[in-house]
């Protein structure tokens, strides 16, 4: 089947308010003159469709007075364009000057591969840029609108970016070209490569109906469950999705955006699964799904997956062994790490590899035997990949830290070491197989915690009870494993993304539209999935898009919750939003406890996706990037039935405040009715803080246990101050609302100073136990949006905190905290980005920090104390500002590591 490129046939809004309209077809030109008023800079050339070719230096100039007559506060730029070559300073239509600090005018174009709308209200050109990259060679419909308060950019009828701006546009004061097809000002000239069908200028804004019409006509293929790719084996992956209508689908994929390979999926039902084989290693593939509809073929955007993230083990063909089945029994068939201490002939080791996905390392003291087997395995391309043999003269003590192996055994009938050594090497929930058929399973490390949600437990305390073996300094932790995933996994420094999770021996980590499961104890990658619609950022002003329990990983993707098998990544089921929100909302909050899964609905487009450019999300004051994401409702599902139990809907729930503990669900809710009606689901205005209530629900029924009006905040008044960020957390006794409140001057401008205010409500009845405050240390690099670490007896926010239950300020500070990351707690200290902007361990006892040089975490939370380990999946490698390590790793407390004595070189 021939694949057709998606084209839009002259879609435009009605001509209401139309001030200017230019088309660039062949019929409009006489020589270089464009009717009615333009002039092509070069001799015009036209493609076979009659479109003017914008290439080399071609552009069209219009009389400057046309631009000067345009309205300055309410206008719409509309264009239909095809960009063939992304570039910096790409301009479709502009009337602008950018000369050092002197920036004036407006511009609709693209910057790199993102459509962009810029304007100046007297200062620098302000930008609203699309988060998704444009696809070269494809037609797009663009609206850039300004109403004197907000600039908005719509791509194919859908809001791609918006930005709060104040005042009329200020035009250039010097002669300036009014240009289509190039950026041109006093001293700069950047022509574009592509086609422009038309440019229109209106003095009105498009209506919702008009936007919807364009969005509908522009829409591609629709999904009931959106696509993803899961890796199966080297060179092999599964592409899967569910269509909204039955019928065949065509998939085009290849190692470039030209795609290439075309295959057909003929699933009779909605679910499609397509096995992709013979994929090249270390290659970023593009793919597109299309389907036939009554309106003709519909196409998905071009998605990507990267086989460089495929770390699944290769099959190991080899004979079976009578013991292998027994040894592997009760171990799930997933990748892992097996240790064999003592060989006979290697046959059991080979069989374990062939009958499982385990990576196997065998130790033996007979070098000749080892080398013989090594040669055989090398010939079979197995040595060093699935099986590694290590010569160790003395097998009594294996030079590994404890808790490494999923399976630990021996080929010999008589163990060459004490059985306790095999047990020591076995990871929690792992299996020790002793000669004679005795099997033991290791218990969890005493004092180990579970990090199942963004801030540890669903109560958001950033403390999971992890004791880390009593460690409170970096020197008391030893390397447990090091390696993948590396810097190519994530979004450079994981800008305010969801934190990794760790539970039941697994570590889950999110990257750039991908997620991965690892064995927490040995770093073995268990499975990986590439999900184009996964991304969510600005978590401090929202909530994470995932959580986990022992068996499942729960991931919010658009309007659904994907429930994944934690061991394999296979999708078990999907959960839907409440019926009234399925077409208009996306899945927001996600948490689980006991048999309950909690979700919430946020309005389409409210979640933050932007990460390219200045996406720091901590600018002081009310800003579009520091707006809170709000939920219109919250609801509960039962894990045992996957059925919805209840829903609660009243005001606007402030996502970062939602907390769950011991069957109680607490949050802050704005009951400002006007706001609920008008909000986009993302709110930075002070209206959010009118009529705020604290609500406590029964998490299993949704019934209100108590609700209270929120007491007056400490710094903010109706006329002054602002709330920078708000967090909720729960102890066994209370719900703690922590507000970061900034001060403003008489003109409403932030003074740069502020405080954390703490409001503690009795969990039983909502009584206010106390309100107290501590001052901001500073107002940048996330210091002023510091998430609290909540213990039963104290709370820390940068740089100090309060004691519980009385709310009195602490008599000490922690730190230094440097860089943008959050802080988490262990029983004996705080972990943070500190000294030299590196990962730092601050001791509760010593009140002193120690650090790991060159170990850079992400710009929110990429490290967690859990599972008896300190887990540090890669989070900062894309920060080009330092000599970072660019790797994932884990530490084990030296106390639990099995390491004895000092480590010094033999001289």
């Amino acid at each position: 089947m021939k694949l057709l490129l998606l084209t839009l046939a002259g879609i435009s809004i009605a001509n209401a308010g139309l001030l200017s309209h230019w088309t660039f077809g062949k019929e409009k030109f006489e020589g270089q003159s464009l009717k009615p008023s333009g002039e092509a800079a070069e001799n015009p050339e036209f493609d076979t469709d009659g479109h003017l070719v914008f290439a080399a230096k071609q552009h069209v100039i219009f009389p400057e007075e046309n631009a000067q007559k345009l309205p300055l506060e309410t206008f719409t730029l509309e264009a239909r364009v095809r960009i063939d070559q992304p570039q910096k300073w790409g301009s479709i239509v502009s009337y602008s000057q950018d000369n050092g600090s002197h920036e004036r005018g407006w511009l609709l174009g693209y910057n790199g591969s993102r459509f962009s709308f810029r304007l100046s209200t007297g200062g620098p050109l302000l930008e609203a840029a699309a988060t998704e990259p444009l696809e070269p060679g494809h037609w797009y419909h663009l609206f850039a609108t300004y109403d004197g308060k907000q600039m908005r950019l719509y791509v194919n009828g859908t809001l791609a970016s918006s930005r709060a701006v104040t005042g009329p546009v200020v035009l250039p004061e010097i002669p300036t070209p009014f240009v289509v097809g190039a950026y041109k000002d006093k001293d700069e000239f950047y022509p574009i490569t592509g086609r422009i069908d038309f440019v229109k200028i209106h003095d009105t804004l498009p209506t919702q109906k008009e936007l919807a019409t364009i969005a509908k006509k522009s829409a591609g293929v629709s999904f009931s469950v959106r696509p993803a790719v899961r890796f199966l084996a080297p060179g092999k992956a599964l592409l899967f999705w569910e269509a909204s209508h039955p019928g065949k689908a065509i998939i085009a994929y290849g190692p470039t955006r030209k795609l290439g390979t075309i295959v057909e999926s003929t699933a009779k039902e909605l679910r499609h699964e397509l096995l992709l084989e013979k994929l090249q290693p270390h290659t970023r593939y593009s793919y597109r799904i299309s389907s036939e509809t009554e309106d003709g073929p519909k196409f998905s955007p071009i998605y990507e997956f990267d086989t460089g993230m495929n770390y699944m083990p290769a099959p190991a063909p080899s004979p079976t062994h009578p013991l292998a089945d027994n040894y592997l029994q009760d171990l799930s068939n997933q990748p892992g790490f097996a240790i064999v201490v003592g060989l006979t002939d290697g046959s059991l080791t080979r069989a374990l590899a062939s009958q499982s996905q385990l990576n196997i390392t065998a130790f033996d003291d007979d070098l000749d035997l080892i080398n013989t087997i090594r040669r055989e395995l090398t010939t079979e391309k197995l040595h060093g990949s699935r099986i590694t043999l290590i010569h160790l003269p003395d097998l009594k003590k294996i030079p590994l830290t404890s808790c490494v192996g999923n399976l630990v055994c021996s080929e010999r009938k008589e163990l060459p070491c004490p059985s306790s050594e095999l047990s020591r090497l076995t990871r929690p929930q792992g299996r020790t197989a002793l000669p004679g058929g005795t099997f033991t399973t290791r218990d969890p490390i005493p004092g180990s915690g579970e990090w199942t949600h963004q801030y540890g437990p669903p109560s958001n305390t950033a403390y999971s009870g992890e004791r880390l073996g009593g460690s409170q300094a970096t020197g008391e932790l030893e390397l447990q494993w090091i390696g993948r995933p590396g810097a190519n996994f994530g979004i450079d420094r994981q800008p305010r993304m969801s934190a990794p999770l760790a539970t039941n021996g697994k570590l889950f980590h999110q990257g750039l539209n991908r997620l991965m499961a690892l064995d927490a104890y040995n770093g073995q990658i268990l499975w990986g999935m590439e999900i184009p619609d996964l991304r969510r950022v600005n978590i401090p002003h929202d909530c994470a898009n995932w959580c986990a329990d022992d068996d499942h990983l729960y991931v919010a993707i658009k309007d659904l919750l994907w429930v994944l098998d934690a061991a394999t990544g296979k999708r078990v089921t999907t959960l839907k939003l409440t019926a009234d929100h399925r077409d208009s909302h996306e899945w927001g909050y996600i948490a689980q406890e006991g048999d309950t899964v909690i979700g919430s609905s946020v309005r389409l487009g409210a979640e933050f996706k932007k990460y390219f450019g200045d996406a720091w999300y901590d600018k002081v004051g009310r800003d579009s990037d520091t707006a809170n994401v709000l939920s219109d409702n919250i609801f509960g599902y039962s894990k045992s039935t996957w059925k919805s139990n209840w829903s609660y809907s009243r005001g606007l729930i402030i996502n970062p405040t939602i907390s769950l503990s011991d069957g109680k669900l607490c949050f802050l809710e704005s009951r400002n009715a006007g706001l609920k009606k008008d909000t986009s689901g993302r709110e930075a205005t002070r209206n959010l803080w009118k009529d705020i209530h604290v609500v406590c629900l029964d998490a299993s029924t949704g019934k209100v246990i108590w609700e209270k009006p929120f007491p007056k905040t400490l710094l903010r008044t109706d006329a002054k101050g602002f709330i920078q960020v708000s967090y909720g957390a729960m102890t066994s006794e209370g719900f703690l609302a922590t507000l970061s409140e900034g001060d403003t001057n008489e003109l409403g401008k932030p003074t740069g100073k502020g405080l954390f205010s703490y409001h503690y409500f009795d969990l039983a009845d909502g009584t206010v136990r106390f309100q107290s405050q501590t001052s901001w240390r500073t107002n940048h690099h996330g210091s002023h949006i510091s998430h609290p670490v909540v213990y039963e007896d104290k709370v820390y926010t940068d740089p100090t905190g309060i004691s519980l239950p009385d709310g009195k300020p602490l008599d000490h500070k922690f730190g230094p905290r440097e860089g943008c990351s959050a802080v988490v707690g262990t029983s004996y200290g705080l972990l943070l980005r500190g000294i030299d902007r590196c990962l730092t361990f601050w001791s509760h006892d010593q009140k002193k920090p120690t650090h790991w040089p060159r170990l850079r975490p992400s710009c929110w939370l990429s490290f967690l104390p859990a599972q008896g380990l300190f887990l540090v999946p890669e989070g900062g490698g894309g920060c080009s500002c330092g000599g970072w390590m660019e790797t994932s790793l884990a530490f084990i407390p030296r106390n639990n590591s099995g390491i004895t004595g000092s480590e010094e070189p033999k001289k």
Binding site: G112, H282, Y311, F337, T361, I370, N371, R374, L377, T378, K381, H383, G384, S385, T388, I390, H391, P399, L400, T474, L479, Q480, W481, I482, G483, R484, P485, G486, A487, N488, I491, D492, P495, L512, N522, G523, Q524, F612, G613, D614, A615, W616, H851, W852, R854, L855, G877, G878, C879, S880, G882, G883, W884, E886, T887, E903, E904, P905, K906, K907
Partner: protein, 447 residues
């Protein structure tokens, strides 16, 4: 007796052919051999060594906050199974199967195999019929280069401890610098974690007795060590290379203008290295003065350069170029002095005007001279590796290897290979090409 006969045989078969005894030919990692290859060549054999298992993943896709895309890897020191060649034999260390392999240069038959307990990331250094190599297991090994017989091994790491890493076990102190044998001394480092002490060893290359052992904190020593003058230079990936004294192994500092793991020393001890960091929007190599640490020249849009007899061969944007580096340095010095002199003269002082005019003209003339330093350039795809063999420039490309005339840039010979040609070893009359897919192709003169 057998060993002596074997040595004689292989020596005879390789008579008059120049060896390539260490990574990138010599301890300056120059990538320059004095002997040209007899063209045309044809493939004699190829060997599938299995896909390399690199120590580090690729770099981040971009620094999104800085809107800086196309970040460059600063740690890809092991993209292929690099080779050395001597005695009619070809050697490579494998990050895949943890062994050093020795192949017959003529037939590709495996002559010997020496396993270690983890990945070997650099080819063995061949000195005095001994093969020296380090491993991720934290040990350094020495074997008979002709037979593979183990001679001795030494633990460079402070303990036997191993940790899981990418499906294997490695020492927390792997040996990832290769072995540099200079003036009868063998140097290597055991290093990885900046929060742990790293160890630089110097032993007698004949007796293996320890000469120095120095401890270094806050460093991660990875990438092929270089030696020049009385100094050693060890790359650190994303941090600047460390400079150490050969006299006692003590560090004297870092070269802040340098970075990455592509490093070479020119004959006058200038360090060419890159990429210097990930902040630059263009790929960059810089030349730094090793004494002052100052930057002398920047090559933009460049990832590989080779310098032979004062001429630099490099690729920039879409062109392969030959620059007269010696002359360029002289002209740039003159240019700088003119610019400095001009800045000092106040144009409002009338008596300065004749001198200002003279300097302006001199500047114009010097800029013309600077342009003349570009000896030739041709449109050419970006290479993964460049080396020189006599009057031939050898270029490693994606699925191809080419040989060009150093004098003109004219293509003399080209052939297909499987994968990206990162490793080029022109030695003993043959061209050995290592690719990212693990293949080793050997081309020999046609009979």
């Amino acid at each position: 007796m057998i060993r002596s006969t074997l040595a004689l045989l292989v020596l005879c078969s390789a008579a008059s052919a120049k060896p390539w005894t260490t990574y990138r030919h010599d301890n300056r990692r120059s990538g320059v051999s004095s002997e040209s290859l007899h063209l045309p060549l044809s493939q004699a054999w190829s060997h599938d060594g299995g896909p390399p298992q690199q120590a580090w993943t690729g770099p981040a896709k971009w620094d999104a906050y800085s809107a800086n895309d196309g970040l460059q890897s600063m740690r890809n020191f092991d993209p292929c199974h690099f080779t050395t060649a001597d005695h009619g034999l070809i050697y490579f260390g494998s990050s895949a199967d943890n062994a050093v392999h020795c192949l017959d240069a003529k037939t590709g038959d495996e002559k010997w195999l020496h396993f270690t307990n983890s990945s070997v990331r650099f080819p063995p250094t061949i000195i005095d019929e001994k093969a020296w190599f380090g491993s991720d297991d934290g040990f350094v090994y020495c074997a008979d280069a002709l037979t593979g017989k183990p001679l001795w091994n030494k633990r460079a790491a402070p303990s036997d401890r191993l940790v899981p890493s990418n499906g294997k076990l490695i020492s927390p102190w792997p040996v990832r610098t290769g072995i540099t044998v200079e003036n009868g001394r063998a140097w290597f480092a055991a290093s990885l974690l900046p929060w742990k002490t790293s160890y630089l060893w110097c032993i007698d290359a004949t007796t293996a007795e320890q000469i120095h052992l120095t401890e270094h904190s806050g460093v991660t020593l990875q990438g092929a060590m270089l030696a020049g003058g009385d100094r050693l230079y060890i790359p650190q990936g994303r941090a600047a290379p460390v400079v150490l004294k050969q006299k006692d192994g003590k560090a004297t500092g870092t070269i802040s203008q340098a970075g990455g793991v592509f490093c070479l020393l020119t004959e006058d001890n200038q360090l060419i290295a890159g990429p210097p960091n990930q902040r630059e929007r263009d790929e960059q190599l810089r030349i730094a003065d090793t004494k002052s640490g100052k930057r002398l020249t920047t090559f933009n849009n460049t990832t590989r350069v080779v310098v032979a007899q004062g001429k630099a061969y490099l690729h920039s944007v879409d062109k392969l170029q030959c620059l007269d580096l010696t002359r360029k340095g002289e002209v740039e010095t003159t240019l700088a002095s003119h610019q400095t002199a001009l800045k000092k003269l106040d144009p409002k002082v009338e008596t300065n005007l004749p001198e200002i005019e003279r300097l302006k003209k001199a500047l114009t003339d010097t800029q013309v001279e600077l342009k003349k330093c570009l000896l030739w350039q041709i449109v050419h795809p970006a290479p993964f590796e460049l080396v020189v063999a006599g009057d031939q420039l050898i270029v490693g490309l994606n699925n191809q290897v080419s040989i060009l005339a150093t004098a003109t840039g004219k293509t003399l010979w080209q052939e297909k290979v499987t994968g990206k040609a990162y490793g080029l070893t022109p030695a003993q009359g043959r061209l050995i090409v290592s690719t990212d897919l693990g293949h080793i192709h050997t081309f020999a003169p046609q009979q």
